[in-house]
Symmetry: C2
Subunit: 359 residues, 2 copies
Amino acid sequence: MIDWDVHNSWSAAQELLPYLDPYHRDALVRGELPGGRHSFPHAHRPWLHPEGFMRTDAVPEDGGPPGSDYDLLREQLLDRYDLEYAILTGEEGIEISTLANPSFASALARAANDWMLAEWLARDPRLKGSLVVAPQDPVGAATEIRRLGGHPEFVQVLVSSGAQRPYGDPFYQPIFEAAAEVGLPVAAHLGGQGGVNANPTGCGPPTFFWEAHALLSETGMGHVASLIAHGTFERFPDLRFVLIECGVAWLPALLWRLDADYKALRKETPWLRRLPSEYAAEHIRLTTQPLEQPKEELHLWAALEAIDGERTLLFASDYPHWDFDDPERVRLPPAWRERVFGENARELYGLPVAAATGG
Amino acid sequence: MIDWDVHNSWSAAQELLPYLDPYHRDALVRGELPGGRHSFPHAHRPWLHPEGFMRTDAVPEDGGPPGSDYDLLREQLLDRYDLEYAILTGEEGIEISTLANPSFASALARAANDWMLAEWLARDPRLKGSLVVAPQDPVGAATEIRRLGGHPEFVQVLVSSGAQRPYGDPFYQPIFEAAAEVGLPVAAHLGGQGGVNANPTGCGPPTFFWEAHALLSETGMGHVASLIAHGTFERFPDLRFVLIECGVAWLPALLWRLDADYKALRKETPWLRRLPSEYAAEHIRLTTQPLEQPKEELHLWAALEAIDGERTLLFASDYPHWDFDDPERVRLPPAWRERVFGENARELYGLPVAAATGG
């Protein structure tokens, strides 16, 4: 079983100090930090979780943040569910997208990636890494992708779903060019709300955390439409785009609309050669968590069938967050299990079967 | 058959001059008009339809805008489909929500409503009107609702789905108070993109018209979540909210998420007493056009069954716009026809059966 969204964390942002150049190290030592000393610099979203974000049983014995203790992560996730691979997505790394200063954001990304490589990926062959980049600094992001993207322990480029503009926008072109060059998928993980990024809905800022959380799928919808419309998958025919934690059941409705609108007005984007739904089927992958919970299971399954869920979904648990999906309780059509819980991810990254058990 | 979205138009905005007070009349006579002389003041959206917005066969003989000639509208719509009622939504009226000046926006709303009453609603008993208000001026909007909302020819309050903030926000409270007082539903019609309003997606501005058009459902999603979360339907238990032209197939996925997030974090909104999906079933109505076009009809029908489409959908044609839905070609479960094509709308507004044929 492969888990596509596992959050490992630093105990404190000061763990990044050895990986920062002196100029940016100074910002972490002497500069303003929004959460006080030891916090990581980003513009925190204005929707505050009323219970905190974490599984309370995932706090390590030393009182550090959930996800910061490898042994506990191994016990509660890797061994408990006998995972073949856990794809680490970090904890706060993607939140750099909310910062106004692009070069500071890229410096933090470099430090987070070097820390990930040194402190986590060497530890256990089951752990694979995500290469965080700052989308507001496309050239810096491309440089980082070329610097570390060839390393076999990194399996994807990672940005937040919150963004200033949709990812098909020409502004981001260097990121996709570099990802295609090193042969990595680009993934957008839910997050990056607030700061310089757009409001996460199409009608301004929601109010409550649970309201906003249910609407965050909207951040992903815009990226899917944008990447397709701009012809990203015509320019980079091997590129895959993975949406993490944005939900899945909204995709059929969006693709039906995109197909109909494209058919009527295809003159606007003559570089496209296929229907939006055809690009999506080949190039877009979605992780399952948090899987929608309908009253009637068959209503969800019909939606997932409409997007060929057996081939487009990747299982993710979101460990150690509050809304963790236990793989034993995720309800999908039983015949899809092998692909969604492993084969799709293995194909996407060319991962070898059965990594040795680490620890 | 009742058609919930029929666009009647002025031939030129100068038709509104008799209905404007001298101060605002001056703005239409001497002020800057974004489309040149005879145009209506609003901040046009930055996504331009590559073919224009109208059915080319709906241009009247005098060359005026489609929807501006009653006889043609009667021939092409009312008589052609033997409509019992056509709910007029105007053409540009709702775009006042994009203007920076709230009192100018409200003045234009008043003029548009008086024009609607004098020039259209007296003409044919099959025509019913929408009372346009400026959402960026909640107190002015409430005054307008109390001024004309009791008139039996107006069946709903109308705003654009594009907005500065989601409509559950306390900022808009006076509008819902007044609508509840006069007993009218509040409807949000697709539109109002650009100007002072929010970008229509959760990740900044899309690029192309067809891309943006497919994403405009996102403007409606945020309003549904916001109205429910803020307890609007607890405060106004008889209030109904109608989303016009925002699509329908996305609603189940959103409600599944809202229900799950509310169940987990209901402490944040203790004034709620029911699940989001239960408020939606009772209080939210959606018009059908543009009905999503899936590859497999049953995939759409499963989605509509999940929101009890037989009771929550209202047929709309969007005459005379480019993406008009011919009622003879709208594919819905046959058993739902009576309710979706008439009964639901009749109940919502207490409309009498079989208006006399007008003309």
